[in-house]
């Protein structure tokens, strides 16, 4: 470990002192919307939009400021106040604005602003639109706390805060039982992951006496390797929960119960990628533990394939996209596990994915809007003619995610495939296979939704969405198309200090052999998808005997497993405890009580009606004693 590579942030001056406004503005807006009640119904949604745009403005100003600063001064610490300070425990509420966190803040508030604007149209008919915008602002505030934290402790506040926002928004239509169940599941599964972060913090505090990123990094090599490995695995557990990585993936598919803008912002573009952020932010710890780093790579590869598998079998357009999100985050995780060489690429892919996946989710929302909230692709077909804007913007997102040059996904994914190949042949080959499957299921989605014959249900008359929804789609589509080319080499230099990355110039037209091979596999995937889904598609989902399809449709049987082991097994265990509590612990007491109650009843019969007077005398006595004591003292 070269100690020079550890960045120690400088104290905030000038504009940076106001970084907390990014969090305070949306938080204040949420408070106004929640406490203001019905009085704010008329304009609440516009105030909600202003909240995130305000944050975006601050983030942009800080970004410009940072561009003008020396590289050494780009990591800035913004101290606020002492949070908990007792004994050896010393936690302050402080923010860290550096190249990594400002990039993430721009993504959250920038894509967030577009999604908020889109939501004004999408949620127009909902009677609780104000509450929706309040919860969305809570999310923005929590997410920015997460990425701007300067310590694991403050990060954890944001980490659980986004979990809360996610819970509230998945269950936004909580009259629907499935939505309420999905919300609870998301929170509980996330909490299992949070255990990892909690215990990791306990260990770090005992080892280093601090939870501050810079201080932990500086002290990292004083700890024994086994403890560092433990921390690595615990952080990975946390990342798995938040980022829906195997084995804690089961909540993300259910989370699609939430309104589609929520799926776009929280469950595609930003929150679910927080696990990747955590691993990249902790890269100095992971560099010290090969075992945990390898585990990160393995989790990434397994999830990228598992997500693609699920995505290939679902008929629900949002669930296909959710499987795809899992899979793409798998790529990021794989890159993050590779170490400094991959960390910057993980963030690059995180950034471009934020654009093209938000683009496609909002596109799916536009389709649902047109199809009376139907999400079954078997009921779509031929929508390209009636929804040209949605079709074109979605199409750009499609080309970006499968990695057609020169769109964004091509560059960001290509780097990961190459880095994976250098990490190990198996990783590289499986990442390529994943790219082929991605091309297949996304082509399937395009064919079933926009091409072929119309299979619309009776009474459905699809139409293009209003301008307020189309404009964000267009902006996101432009981002999906251009960001790869724009950022390809700049982002590596920019992220070098926080990720420990050593950039080597990569020209836009230089494509290594892995890139060509991936491209060939992608084209095969597209071809297979086209051939399989160009024909007639049945309106009802056909039953299947194919185990691969069956397992994919049932979310890899995760629910069946959880139900059998935790819900039913746990339920029996807990019911057993109830019986023990009633019979053994309380029963022993009760036999005594029975006797005593008998005596007590007799006693109360004797004293019936006099309890009050009894109490009265008690007080008189107590007061008298006290008065005597005071008098005695004065005497």
């Amino acid at each position: 470990m070269n100690p020079l590579e550890i960045v120690v942030p400088v104290e905030a001056t000038g504009l940076f002192q106001y970084a907390w406004l990014m969090i305070a503005i949306p938080l204040g807006v949420a408070a106004i919307l929640l406490l203001g009640g019905k009085a704010t119904n008329a304009w609440g949604h516009w105030l909600g939009v202003l909240g995130v745009i305000g944050s975006f403005a601050v983030a942009t100003a800080l970004f410009v400021q940072m561009l003008g600063a020396e590289v050494a001064d780009r990591a800035v610490q913004v101290s606020m106040f002492d949070w908990i300070d007792v004994g050896n425990l010393n936690l302050s509420a402080a923010l860290l604005v550096d190249q990594l966190s400002i990039l993430f803040a721009l993504l959250v508030t920038g894509v967030g602003s577009l999604i908020f604007i889109y939501s004004v149209g999408y949620m127009a008919e909902d009677p609780h639109r104000r509450r929706f915008f309040a919860f969305m602002n809570i999310f923005i505030a929590a997410m920015l706390t997460l990425v701007l934290a300067d310590s694991y402790a403050v990060l954890f506040i944001g980490w659980e805060g986004v979990g809360l926002a996610s819970y509230l928004l998945i269950g936004f239509w909580q009259q629907r039982r499935s939505a309420a169940l999905a919300a609870k599941k998301a929170f509980v599964v996330n909490r299992i992951g949070d255990l990892g972060l909690l215990v990791a913090m306990f260990i770090m505090m005992a080892l280093f006496g601090s939870l501050n990123f810079a201080e932990v990094n500086q002290a990292a090599d004083t700890a024994s390797a086994s403890w560092i490995t433990a921390i690595g695995f615990l952080l990975l557990l946390a990342a798995c929960g938040k980022s829906a990585q195997v084995p804690l993936q089961s909540w993300l598919l259910d989370a699609m119960e939430g309104p589609t803008p929520v799926s776009a912002l929280i469950h595609a573009a930003t929150m679910v990628t927080a696990g990747v952020y955590l691993v990249v932010r902790s890269h100095i710890l992971f560099e010290l533990t090969p075992a945990a780093s390898l585990a990160v790579c393995v989790v990434g590869v397994v999830t990228l394939l598992a997500g693609a598998w699920v995505g290939s079998t679902k008929d629900d357009i949002k669930k296909v996209l959710a499987g795809s999100t899992m899979s793409q985050i798998g790529y990021m995780m794989l890159a993050a596990g590779i170490g400094p060489a991959g960390g910057a690429f993980a963030i690059f892919h995180l950034f471009t994915h934020g654009f093209f996946k938000a683009n496609m989710f909002l596109g799916a929302g536009s389709v649902m809007h047109a199809m009376d909230d139907d999400t079954d692709m078997r009921h779509f077909g031929a929508l390209r003619k009636v929804m040209p804007w949605t079709f074109v913007t979605f199409g750009i997102g499609y080309l970006a995610i499968i990695g057609i040059p020169p769109l964004a996904g091509f560059y960001s994914k290509d780097h990961i495939v190459v880095a994976a190949w250098e990490r190990g042949m198996a990783f590289g080959a499986l990442a390529m296979l994943g790219a082929a499957i991605t091309a297949f299921y996304m082509t399937r989605l395009m064919m079933m939704t926009f091409f072929g014959e119309r299979r619309w249900a009776k009474g459905v008359h699809p139409h293009e969405s209003p301008g307020i929804m189309v404009v964000p789609l267009v902006v996101l589509a432009i981002g999906s198309a251009a960001l790869g080319m724009l950022l390809n080499s700049a982002i590596q230099t920019w992220l070098a200090p926080p990720t420990g990355h050593h950039p080597h110039a990569t020209a836009l037209w230089e494509i290594p052999w892995q890139g060509w091979a991936t491209l060939a596999l992608v084209l095969i995937g597209v071809g297979v998808g086209y051939l399989m889904y160009r024909g007639e598609i049945s309106f009802e989902q056909p039953r299947t005997k194919n185990p691969i399809v069956y397992i994919g449709r049932n979310d890899l049987l995760a629910d069946q497993f959880n139900d059998a082991v935790f819900v039913r097994g746990g339920g029996k265990l807990v019911d057993g405890f109830q019986a023990v509590d009633d019979l053994l612990i309380d029963g022993g007491v009760r036999s005594t009580t029975a006797l005593a109650t008998g005596i007590g009843d007799a006693f109360s019969r004797l004293q019936n009606g006099y309890e009050r007077r009894y109490g009265l005398w008690m007080v008189v006595g107590a007061v008298l004693v006290s008065v005597v004591l005071i008098l005695g003292r004065l005497a």
């Binding site: 004994g87 425990l89 505090m205 405890f577 109490g615």
Partner: protein, 508 residues
């Protein structure tokens, strides 16, 4: 100001108020009780802030023959508990404002009027304040037992059909614990007498190193009484029954204030007077604490009644506090004291909000609700916020407590913390599952019939300060941490422990 016995006045105010409330019948009595509670709140705040920079201790010889003193003093922990008590009292009185209204569901016909409820509540407040301020073992013991009387009548007088049995069970449990403690109190006298000068002053007793089996016996005497109070598994079973039968206001006082005497006593008496025996008993106590955390949470998950559910969450949370106390680090003990305060507010919010449901529906059975959010969104909102505090979400005071306890206890008790941390996942399950069953889904027929109104202004006024306090202490806990720290440091000195240095565990 130096000669004014501030602490005595603070304790006497509610007692005198109680006396008046018993005498003044009807609505005037109820208003009088509230007025006294508010005056006590103001005076309590004066004492809380005043005791920060001046010594308010009062020491008067009481029965010199046996070395009994009328001695009051306030340390950081005492100040925190005084603050909790004086804040909760008016809130509870406001929540139970209509307790003798026969139109209110959920209760059997009350035995006495609302002025009597106010009287007993004030009586309880006065005794509890004296408990927290006592600097003399005998004085502490007397008030400790005295609190049982108003509590007994609060349970006996208002609540469900089986409240009489519940009150008796509570009383017998507590008396049994208290009796064991009485032997130990006498033992304290013997010890000091043997040392030359009989004295019950805590400072005198703490100055004597007892040692050996005697110290262990005395420790057990005190600890058993406190374990019953704090409800620790396996002496917890009185709490769910009492909570189910008593009115939520009475339960709030019981769990929020009275049960704190358990953990309060452990710090002040078990650790303060019997340090060697405390260290000796630590493995067993830690084991029971962790069992309480997990067992309480599991029982809460499987509870079918909201009041029992909240009671079991308290069993789980008291487990955390005991874990922090017996982990012997400055951070963990401070965390426990902080958590005592936070839990006072969060459990009050939970119990009182469940009370709102109970008043509308006539029962707190979970199955009797469904879809309530749609008809009473504000009620649903305050339940959820209280629940999120209960499950220890960061940004609420409970998180600060749990987190400080666990991160502080990790270096000395890693295994116990690693198990107890599972309680945070179980907490998410019991809170959110309850929310899901009561509030989400389509509006059920029974909900539509019974839940006809959202929160009234009075009810909003009850929960608003609690939620505000939970959030303020969650985001800005440091001032209260600083109040609690001196007690923790003094305790650490008593037990002769020092904080483990970073890196002492797992360094290279």
């Amino acid at each position: 100001m130096d000669n004014v016995p501030m602490l005595t006045i603070l304790g006497l105010l509610p007692l005198i108020g109680a006396l008046l409330a018993f005498v003044v019948r009807g609505k005037a009595g109820r208003q009088l009780a509230m007025a006294v509670a508010l005056i006590t709140l103001v005076f309590g705040l004066v004492v809380f802030f005043g005791s920060a920079d001046s010594d308010l201790a009062e020491t008067v010889s009481w029965i010199p023959q046996i070395g009994a003193w009328y001695a009051l003093s306030l340390d950081g922990m005492g100040r925190a508990m005084v603050l909790l008590t004086v804040i909760l009292l008016p809130i509870v009185l406001l929540a139970e404002w209509r307790i003798d209204d026969s139109k209110i569901f959920g209760f059997e016909q009350p035995r006495w009027g609302s002025n009597v409820f106010g009287g007993f509540a004030l009586l309880l407040e006065g005794f509890a304040l004296f408990v927290f301020m006592s600097a003399d073992v005998l004085l502490f013991y007397l008030f400790f037992e005295a609190t049982l009387i108003p509590m007994f009548f609060l349970v006996q007088g208002w609540g469900g059909t089986n409240r009489g049995r519940a009150a008796m069970k509570f009383l017998l449990y507590s008396l049994a614990g208290g009796l064991v403690m009485l032997f130990a109190v006498i033992g304290v006298y013997v010890v000091t007498a043997r040392a030359g000068q009989p004295s019950f002053l805590i400072s005198d007793v703490a100055g004597i190193s007892i040692g050996g089996t005697l110290e262990q016996f005395l420790f057990i005497g005190f600890f058993v009484a406190f374990a019953v109070k704090a409800p620790m598994v396996p002496v917890h079973s009185w709490l769910p029954d009492t909570a189910e039968q008593a009115t939520p206001g009475a339960t709030t006082l019981l769990v929020g204030v009275l049960d704190k005497i358990g953990t309060f006593g452990m710090i002040r008496f078990c650790l303060g007077l019997f340090p060697n025996a405390s260290a000796w008993a630590t493995p067993l106590v830690i084991f029971l604490a962790v069992v309480s955390v997990i067992y309480g949470a599991l029982m809460a998950i499987s509870s079918k009644n909201l009041l029992r559910l909240v009671a079991y969450t308290s069993v789980s949370h008291f487990g955390f506090m005991v874990l922090g106390i017996f982990a012997f680090t400055t951070a963990s003990v401070t965390g426990s004291i902080f958590y005592m305060l936070a839990h006072g507010f969060s459990s009050a919010a939970m119990f009182l909000v469940v009370g709102f449901l109970l008043n509308r529906r006539g029962t707190a059975e979970i199955a009797a609700f469904g879809g309530v959010q749609k008809v009473a969104p504000v009620l649903a909102g305050v339940f959820l916020v209280s629940g999120l505090a209960t499950l220890g979400l960061p940004g609420t005071a409970n998180f600060v407590g749990e987190f400080t306890i666990m991160i502080g206890a990790w270096p000395t008790q890693p295994v116990a913390v690693a198990v107890a941390v599972l309680g945070t996942v179980l907490a998410a399950v019991y809170v959110l599952w309850a929310y899901q069953r009561v509030f989400t889904g389509e509006v059920t027929e029974q909900t539509e019939q019974h839940i006809t109104s959202d929160l009234a202004p009075r009810e909003k006024l009850v929960v608003a300060p609690l939620i505000a306090l939970l959030l303020v202490f969650g985001f800005v806990p440091q001032p209260m941490i600083e109040v609690a720290t001196p007690t923790a440091q003094a305790t650490m000195t008593h037990v002769g422990m020092s904080d483990p240095q970073p890196g002492s565990m797992g360094g290279k």
